[in-house]
């Protein structure tokens, strides 16, 4: 498999070190796949503990939302002219994370990147839940959340329609489309696997539910044929969608006059940043998961290595975008722009700017070393720093720009309040609540697809089970 890295030294073989042609050396047959994956579904004490922590955090966020709606947005830390703050920052943060899943499942699928197979299900689920989290924040952020539906074009007796020229309406379309499509994508991929669970299930009640969820999938050749085609087109749609969604999010800033926002580089820069943060979050989730669920021989070091390369690349893209912004500010000779960018790194928010430069530009450079690329512990630590850095990237885009605009008389400050913080905590609670519920109900790996890259039984000699132009491909 071209897209899977060669091992450190030829000749080394082990359960979680693949070679160019054998992706999952430690997986022998279809039954093993079923066994291993279904084994991850059993409830455990640790899991309940984790879930209760997540739910608690979620409740903290929920209660402070009630508090904020009752009193007004003044309870958040806003200090005009900083009219956007933690909520928009966190919104962009989660949307960004929501990009890895579809990227892995769709774009890498079209690129025939074999290493996607064992991580895409988890990543896709992560995407759906991240977007579900992100989607809350614009509503939390607005002054009259109960009027949120006014942004949606629906026929109404007042004959009022939204303003389709507004980037925020573009957001509504982009985000809602993205949520719908990535959820559909996730579910379609799940159908055959739910069928597997159904057929292995003994408890009649669960069996009934599972057979409803599986829509009566029977693995027949007709089903597989249409499934493959549909999956291909979904991937073909999702690919530009992924790119469009974060571009649209970046328009929220790029379309404004605000110094530090008004830049045409934003769409590519945001998309790269999104993929960057998304992969980091995949690590944050997949690395502990492969350990706790004993899936090291499914998510092999080669897979991590391959993702590390993507992270390194996107880090370079994002890094150069940062530098280009400064260049353009200087080159534009627009005084407001120049003063803003000077203020960004040496002004009141210098620490935020340097945090993001350290986490997003400097630290990922460690990935030039293959040793570190294949060191799960380091990747996990790095992923936490990247998540932090990406949150601060959005902070640096939103807050300093607004606090240092055209009108010096209105230059201001910003400090988050306890309400802001509880929403941040709540968002993680909400996200992990869903994810934890997911991993114990449904397979975190695509059983059917894994079987594609596992050698099938042959009567006469070794079949060509994993030859290049097929594995990972559905058609």
């Amino acid at each position: 498999m071209a897209s899977v890295a060669h091992p450190v030294r030829e000749g080394i073989r082990g359960p979680n070190i693949a070679s160019a042609d054998v992706q999952l050396p430690a997986v022998r047959d279809y039954e093993q796949v079923d066994r291993d994956i279904i084994a991850t579904l059993g409830f455990t004490k640790k899991w309940f503990l984790g879930l209760s922590v997540a739910v608690l955090a979620m409740l903290i966020g929920a209660s402070s939302w009630i508090y904020q709606i009752y009193w007004g947005l003044g309870q958040a830390g806003y200090e005009p002219p900083v009219m956007w703050g933690n909520y928009i920052i966190t919104f962009v943060f989660w949307v960004g994370i929501g990009h890895a899943g579809t990227l892995i499942s769709a774009i890498l699928y079209l690129f025939r990147a074999g290493f996607r197979t064992s991580i895409y299900r988890a990543a896709e689920a992560m995407t759906v839940f991240a977007v579900m989290t992100a989607g809350l924040f614009p509503i939390i952020h607005i002054g009259r959340p109960w009027k949120f539906f006014w942004l949606i074009p629906y026929p109404n007796w007042r004959l009022l329609w939204p303003n389709f020229k507004s980037p925020l309406v573009w957001d509504v379309f982009a985000i809602s489309t993205y949520l719908t499509i990535s959820t559909t994508f996730l579910f379609i991929g799940l159908i055959p696997d739910i069928a597997v669970l159904r057929d292995k299930e003994t408890n009649p009640m669960r069996k009934r539910i599972l057979s409803i969820l599986s829509l009566g999938w029977r693995n027949s050749d007709r089903e597989w044929r249409h499934f493959a085609k549909a999956y291909l087109f979904l991937a073909a749609f999702s690919t530009p969608l992924v790119l469009s969604v974060h571009s649209v999010v970046s328009f929220d800033f790029a379309m404004a006059l605000t110094p530090g926002w008004h830049a045409s580089i934003f769409p590519p820069y945001f998309v790269a940043g999104a993929i960057f943060s998304g992969f980091a979050m995949v690590w944050t989730i997949a690395i502990p998961m492969r350990k706790w669920f004993k899936l090291e021989h499914y998510i092999t070091l080669n897979h991590l290595d391959a993702t590390a390369k993507v992270v390194l690349f996107t880090s370079l893209v994002v890094g150069s975008a940062y530098l280009i912004e400064f260049f353009i500010a200087w080159y534009s000779s627009v005084r407001a722009e120049q003063e803003f960018f000077w203020n960004r790194v040496f002004g009141q928010w210098w620490w935020a700017a340097w945090t993001l430069l350290l986490c997003n530009m400097a630290m990922p450079m460690s990935l030039w070393s293959q040793k570190l690329r294949r060191n799960p512990t380091w990747l996990f630590i790095l992923s936490l720093f990247i998540n932090l850095g990406m949150w601060f990237e959005r902070f640096v885009i939103v807050v300093p720009s607004l606090s240092h605009e055209f009108e010096p008389w209105q230059w201001g400050h910003y400090t988050v309040s306890w309400v802001d913080m509880s929403f941040l905590v709540g968002s993680f609670g909400w996200f992990f609540m869903w994810f934890l519920l997911f991993v114990k109900q449904l397979p975190v790996m695509a059983i059917a697809e894994l079987k594609e890259i596992v050698a099938p039984r042959m009567k006469h000699g070794h079949g060509h089970g994993h030859d290049h132009h097929h594995a990972g491909g559905h058609e």
């Binding site: 004959l159 389709f164 029977r218 050749d221 499934f227 099938p456």
Partner: protein, 166 residues
């Protein structure tokens, strides 16, 4: 529906059986496999899925609706913002695109459902739980007369188990 089901444990034997059955024309053959194998596809050699038509139509409907709702509502309720055109075509491309993806993708899924006859909650003749696990299955829809022949053929190709469906 009457017929014969054979469960195979190996891929190559399954393929051989399918090819043989197609020559014999004993009846419609349905192949069950835990995953997609191109060998089976070759053996079955079915026409290209029509799902792509649903995709095309859905996409076109979506993009036109997206543009239409944006342009119509802007002209229907003319309000000037920022000195821009009532209906600003360029930004509306975003609306057009997103709605295209939405409708296109959903109609693709609809296409898949319709064509592969799901959701279906009744049990299917000839299906066996093993077919989602490690076994490949072949079901030949035929009357009792042809059944013996089919059964023999399946056994000859080394089916792990053969079952009469009545």
């Amino acid at each position: 529906m009457r017929g014969v089901t054979g469960a195979f444990h190996e891929l190559d034997t399954t393929v051989a059986a399918i090819e043989d059955l197609k020559k014999k024309r004993l009846g419609d053959v349905t192949v069950y496999s835990p995953t997609i194998r191109h060998e089976l596809d070759h053996a079955i050699d079915a026409p290209v899925s029509v799902v792509r038509r649903f995709t095309l139509v859905g996409g076109l409907l979506g993009v036109s609706f997206g543009y239409w709702i944006a342009i119509w509502s802007s002209n229907y309720w003319p309000l000037v913002v920022g000195g821009k055109a009532f209906a600003s075509w360029i930004p509306y491309t975003i609306i057009g695109f997103e709605v295209m993806v939405l409708v296109g993708a959903l109609s693709t899924v609809a296409g898949m459902f319709i064509n592969s006859r799901i959701p279906r909650l009744t049990t299917t003749t000839g299906y066996d739980a093993r077919f989602s696990g490690g076994y490949f299955g072949i079901f030949i829809a035929c009357d009792a007369a042809k059944a013996d022949q089919a059964e023999a053929l399946l056994r000859q190709h080394g089916a792990a188990e053969v079952r009469r469906e009545a």
